[in-house]
Symmetry: C2
């Protein structure tokens, strides 16, 4: 897949995803208007839609376009979880960020109480969305998707990683394994789950699910390494926030441990593991391959 | 069921529930220690376990003791959601309560960031617990339980009611229908869901699920009316907080609209609807009957 083909693919997938996300928080009514507004502000105000795109591309690797469609609801559930986590992370008691993607963060736009509640609602309703994945996906697979999302987002995954990150702040020396452990929970778990739920929705056989799990883990690690590199060089445009913020806050980063060149080389090595894992899917895996290459290249 | 028999029933059920709740947040490991401590503090520090007891009693009404056991995991999932909601409601940006059940609330004991994250983890992991209800409950029923919990706790249920409650604060006149609407979301939805998930786990037929839904709605309404009455008379011992706090904060209450005697009479009328709904279950419904009577009597 050329860079141009990937662009077209991403544009088409994002359009499907954003239409479905809007339905996820508005369909059927019965929600207070202010809550829906805040949920839509958090969920639909830009963002790369990387997690649901990964879910769709993973479904496609397993079973082509029809399988890709089955991954849409699980992918949207994960994006709702991602959006809630950003809203709660930005709160004054957490990272205290008033800006997100170049505009006021949720609590700055509304107020803290609304931001807490809109986050809680996105998190809760994400499971309603995951559990109402269409009946073309078997009931046991739909349950596996719910469990996968809960495990990756909860105390043993994303929330656990977030707490570890807070506890590590301000420590002077942080080992590479501690950095990896934090990011595996905080960012990696949900990216891995994005790939896995797409595969599960598509009805992947065990061996294929194993291959895609390896890919998802590699993807998560490359994502975090390159995120740290970008934070360091201060790509204000793509991150929408000032440079070096994480390191200045005393947070563990890959460049802080490996240096900039070392971090970039590590990203390429890990990406190779991901590419190899999806070789058996041939051209059906082209979108996954393109997504990973895209993430590697953003830091080069 | 005599008052003494009900006491014995509650003691036995609470013991089962608390053992299972502890397993829900510790089994398998992999969670940061501080997070587990905070989750256990929020989840296991007292409380009447009303919601999981309702789930168990509802399962029992449908199919006796074996069915009651199947309702344990869904009931515990709902208790985890209840515990997260208290932790988030107590936050400075929300109700700003430093005390809960006669001891420091979660953020007062730890800090705000930990309270937000422990709440998020309890909410997320609740769905993992619900989805891993044992295989004696069919996969479609387990999915229905996940959807039931998400719908009752999310934007159209508890979180929506909480936001409406905040928006109504400080208004001088609040109609009875507005009061009912707020409480139906904020408290009623999760109590109704407690009864329904117990019934679904027990494999209730449609007509029985309908009867138990009516009971659950009546229970939720009686609970809220008597909660408001207790708040007004200031039963410091049973609520663990000062008297008249809700009314003083400008919140809509039943006694504020109906007067104290009017609120008590309304609670008895609604309870009668609940008793009638479960008559067809005979002695199997005795625990549900006793629980409702217990709630009515606390305000008389």
């Amino acid at each position: 897949m050329t860079a141009k083909e990937l662009d077209g693919y991403l544009t088409a997938r994002r359009r499907e995803i954003e239409a479905e996300l809007d339905r996820c928080v508005t369909a059927g009514g019965g929600r207070p208007r202010r809550l829906v507004q805040a949920m839509r502000y958090a969920l639909l105000g830009g963002g790369k839609r990387l997690r649901p795109v990964l879910a769709l591309a993973s479904g496609q690797a397993v079973g082509g376009a029809p399988a890709r469609k089955r991954a849409l609801r699980p992918g949207c559930a994960i994006e709702m979880i991602h959006a809630y986590s950003l809203a709660h992370d930005d709160l004054p008691a957490m990272d205290d960020d008033d800006m997100r993607r170049g505009r006021p963060s949720l609590h700055a736009k509304y107020d803290e109480a609304t931001a807490i509640l809109a986050g809680d609602a996105l998190l809760t309703d994400a499971f309603g969305v995951a559990a109402s994945t269409g009946r073309t996906v078997g009931a046991e697979s739909r349950l596996a998707i719910v469990r996968e999302i809960a495990a990756s987002a909860g105390a043993r995954g994303m929330v656990g990683g977030q707490l570890k990150d807070i506890l590590a702040e301000g420590k002077k020396r942080v080992s590479l394994s501690a950095v990896q452990d934090i990011h595996r929970g905080k960012t990696g778990a949900l990216l891995r789950a994005s790939v896995r739920v797409g595969a599960i929705a598509a009805g992947a056989a065990k061996a294929d699910l194993r291959r895609l799990t390896t890919f998802g883990e590699a993807f998560g690690l490359v994502f975090q390494i390159t995120d740290d590199v970008l934070d360091e060089v201060g790509d204000l445009k793509s991150l929408g926030k000032p440079a070096g913020g994480d390191r200045a806050a005393g947070k563990a980063t890959y460049p802080g441990v490996l240096g900039m060149d070392g971090a970039r080389a590590q990203a390429r090595r890990v990406a190779d593991v991901g590419y190899r894992a999806i070789e058996p899917f041939g051209t059906r895996g082209a979108a996954l391959h393109g997504l990973l290459r895209h993430v590697v290249e953003r830091a080069s």
